[in-house]
């Protein structure tokens, strides 16, 4: 069996969730008979990886560093295979603005949006264009950091008066902020595993918004899997998820979040390249509904990574070709 380093924790705002995902993955890997080493990612990551010489890294690192391609880049340099998507797909997905531009260009439905940096407001007078922005997007409007995986910093502005404070909040987490049309509807997550969509999970929140606590607390959100949707809508959601997964160049696994509005129209919000693996996470639930038990899910992800040769041989270097899903 293999020596597997599980990368988890780190400094992101999703540290706690990542530690829980990591611990659960470690359990599964041990049951599978691997030699497992959990690494709480810190300044000494490279040194520890050099000492450990793992056959493969399992990435359970959510949020910044883990999902934005940073750690993937480092592992490419070190020549260690790792689970999940490569560098360029991580960059495209973790930047929600970039991902949405790709979607718009490819004709995939995503809520209308505008994105700005803090500099635009502080130095270019972008505030003077707020009226036009609000007219284009309309209310209620979602204001959120462009690269934050959790719901922290997300606000719903119901009128123009709410926008400045919402922007101040969102800019606390990121230098780039997304203002997006709010689509009222059902919260769907479609996980894509090895190029195929898994059964759809619907998250039914107890409160007003699907907030940060509700997402990770047992009993705060009711999950329905497979979601009770008309066949045509479910088929379309799965089709869209696979299309987005491929469009953005994701590899092995991803979780695509969508909204289904009252007319049954679907809107893609974002793609997560390192979906949560906690007890309440959506990917494991979806896999389970498809008859793929947690251990098998983990085994498949590790096997996929091990099957890849270290991609140091890449000639031009920094990122893979776009969009080039391996399968």
């Amino acid at each position: 069996m293999s020596r597997v380093a599980v990368l988890k924790g780190g400094r992101s705002l999703e540290r706690e969730v990542s530690l829980r995902s990591g611990a659960r993955v470690e359990d599964a890997l041990q049951r599978l008979g691997h030699e497992v080493h959990g690494i709480d990612v810190d300044h000494d990551l490279v040194r520890r990886l050099r000492e450990l010489q793992p056959d493969v890294c399992f990435l359970a690192l959510h949020g910044r560093d883990g999902e934005d391609g940073t750690v993937q880049e480092l592992l490419e340099i070190l020549g260690i295979p790792y689970t999940g998507s490569g560098v360029s797909a991580c960059i495209r997905c973790s930047d929600k603005v970039l991902a949405k531009h790709h979607m718009v260009d490819a004709g995939i439905p995503t809520p209308a949006f505008v994105a700005f940096t803090e500099t635009a407001f502080k130095q270019l007078g972008a505030a003077d264009a707020l009226g036009e922005i609000e007219a284009r997007i309309g209310f209620p409007m979602v204001v959120k950091p462009a690269d934050q995986g959790s719901a922290l910093g997300l606000r719903i502005a119901r009128s123009a008066a709410d926008v400045p404070a919402a922007l101040v909040a969102a800019f606390s987490y990121s230098s780039k902020v997304l203002l997006e049309r709010h689509v009222a509807g059902r919260d769907l997550a479609v996980s894509v595993l090895d190029g195929a969509a898994l059964p759809i999970v619907e998250a039914v929140p107890e409160g007003d918004v699907y907030d940060f606590d509700a997402r990770y607390e047992i009993g705060r959100t009711r999950f329905v899997c497979p979601a009770d949707l008309p066949d045509a809508v479910a088929a379309r959601a799965r089709e869209l998820a696979v299309a987005v997964h491929e469009l953005l160049g994701c590899r092995d696994v991803s979780r695509v979040d969508l909204l289904c509005d009252d007319a049954g129209e679907l809107h893609v919000l974002e793609v997560n390249v390192i979906p949560g693996m906690t007890e309440t996470s959506l990917l494991p639930q979806a896999a389970d509904a498809a008859g793929v038990r947690f251990d098998e899910l983990i085994a498949r992800l590790v096997d996929r990574a091990l099957a890849r040769q270290p991609s140091l041989a890449k000639s031009s270097g920094v990122t893979e070709a776009t969009p080039a899903p391996r399968r």
Binding site: E26, K122, A127, L152, L167, V168, D213, D288
Partner: protein, 470 residues
């Protein structure tokens, strides 16, 4: 690294969720948990903790006291003790309470595992699900999970610079009574309130004990910081003013000796204390005998008062350092309380600043505080923060406040750019005058106030008041 094997767990959620008691639905994990997890990184200057500085306790004293406990009381220190606590510890408690003017009978004392256990036992003894508890706003964030676990309906009374206004309390009690709801107890921290940093005035204390007696409602007087007064005259406790009627007093060694010992106590009317004793038996049988013997031996040495004096000197200096740094680095739109003692002050920012988000930004500069929302049960407090001045040294306090001021300035600048309303022209507050007017508020020239965005005289109270007065 070997973990015990587990069953496949993808469907654990449904299985376990079905087993949870309904009260766990009220046991919410803190909204800030994931942010607060990041405050524990070693490089972070944390003004977030509620920590006393235990580094000043002499290691030699610790060693010699432990050695004496081991030699003199080995078997007893390793044994169960009585639920109500050791007599020797009750002697020490009477000593400490006498220093604040309270005379208590050992029979009326219940030794507990930290002051926190008193809050839990009071809830356990008095509350049925849905019962009303009246608390201050803001209130001690650590009491909130306890209230929630007992499914209390918490009603909060907004404080000002003199603590909880009793007229507002009485109005609330009248309203509740009209609704057929009678509160079981009123929870207050009269001295240097956590997190507000304000102290309840003497007239209010007198009126509060009258209200408790007239309406036959218990007051839970939480007094962890009473002996940590850095200026001004001590005020009598509610226990003393009320002669014990309808008062449960909570004391602790956490802030005058050690929080790690987990040793506190309750003084309560006999019928209440008996029920609390039974509740404690169910919780932990007795408080650690080892801890109790340590405290008894420490007090037998008779050096607790000089040590307390050294803590007061240390914390007084740190408080002044923080107040000076706030005046230098916080923008004119901010206000804060100036506590006469305790460990905390409470700063309030313009209402468009959310301190949970501000914390995320502050953590990028390696500094932390407690966002104010945790001190309210109704979602208020979002623009306030609790700052602790006892846990870290002067240099770190100055640097920490400088960094918070910096990120705050950035948010204000951004808001100004977004709304076309430049914040306070970026002006730094001039240090407030240390002299005080007769009413206790710092003197300020009303004309200067217009120029420099100093609080107007009418606003001075709110500067000294706790949150919500922005």
């Amino acid at each position: 690294m070997n973990r015990p094997p587990q069953r496949p767990a993808s469907s654990d959620l449904e299985r376990y969720a079905g087993l949870f008691a309904s009260r766990t639905r009220q046991m919410k994990s803190s909204a800030m948990r994931d942010l607060m997890a990041l405050t524990e990184r070693p490089e972070v200057i944390s003004l977030a903790g509620g920590l006393p500085d235990t580094s000043t306790f002499p290691a030699e004293s610790f060693a010699s006291i432990m050695a004496r406990v081991a030699v003199d009381s080995c078997a007893a220190a390793l044994q169960y003790g009585p639920t109500e606590g050791l007599g020797l510890v009750k002697d020490a408690i009477r000593h400490v309470m006498a220093a604040e003017g309270n005379v208590v009978d050992p029979e009326d004392i219940l030794v507990t595992t930290g002051g926190q256990q008193v809050i839990d036992l009071v809830c356990k003894t008095l509350l049925d699900p849905g019962d009303v508890v009246v608390a201050e706003a803001p209130t001690y964030p650590g009491a909130v999970p306890t209230f929630c676990a007992y499914q209390a309906d918490v009603v909060q009374i907004e404080m000002d610079g003199d603590g909880m206004p009793i007229d507002a309390l009485e109005e609330t009690l009248d309203r509740l009574e009209a609704e057929g709801r009678r509160p079981k107890f009123i929870y207050t921290i009269p001295n240097f309130q956590n997190p507000g940093g304000v102290t309840m005035s003497l007239p209010r204390r007198k009126r509060l004990v009258e209200v408790a007696r007239e309406r036959e409602i218990i007051v839970l007087e939480d007094n962890p910081y009473g002996l940590l007064r850095y200026e001004g005259e001590p005020l009598p406790t509610l226990l003393e003013l009320g002669g014990g009627d309808y008062i449960i007093y909570l004391g602790t060694f956490s802030k005058i000796l050690s929080a790690g010992l987990r040793l506190g106590w309750a003084v309560a009317p006999a019928p209440v204390l008996q029920k609390m004793n039974l509740g404690k038996q169910g919780a932990d049988l007795c408080t650690s005998s080892l801890t109790q013997h340590f405290v008894a031996a420490y007090f037998a040495e008779g050096r607790w008062e000089p040590y307390l004096e050294s803590l007061r000197d240390l914390y007084r200096r740190r408080r002044d350092t923080m107040l000076g740094a706030l005046a230098e680095h916080f923008p004119a739109e901010a206000s804060w309380t100036e506590p006469e003692g305790g460990l905390f002050l409470w700063a309030t920012l313009p209402d468009y600043v959310d301190t949970t988000d501000l914390l995320a930004r502050a953590l990028q500069r390696d500094v932390a505080f407690v966002p104010g929302r945790g001190a309210y049960l109704d979602g208020r407090g979002g623009s306030s923060m609790r700052l602790n001045f006892s846990g870290v040294g002067d240099d770190e306090i100055r640097e920490g406040i400088r960094r918070i001021g910096e990120v705050l300035g950035e948010q204000l600048e951004l808001f100004g750019a977004l709304t076309g309303r430049p914040p306070g022209a970026g002006a730094k507050r001039t240090p407030p005058p240390r002299t005080r007017a007769a009413d206790g508020a710092p003197e300020a020239d009303p004309e200067l106030a217009d120029v420099l965005h100093l609080p107007r005289p009418g606003e001075q109270r709110s500067r000294r008041g706790a949150g919500g007065t922005r």
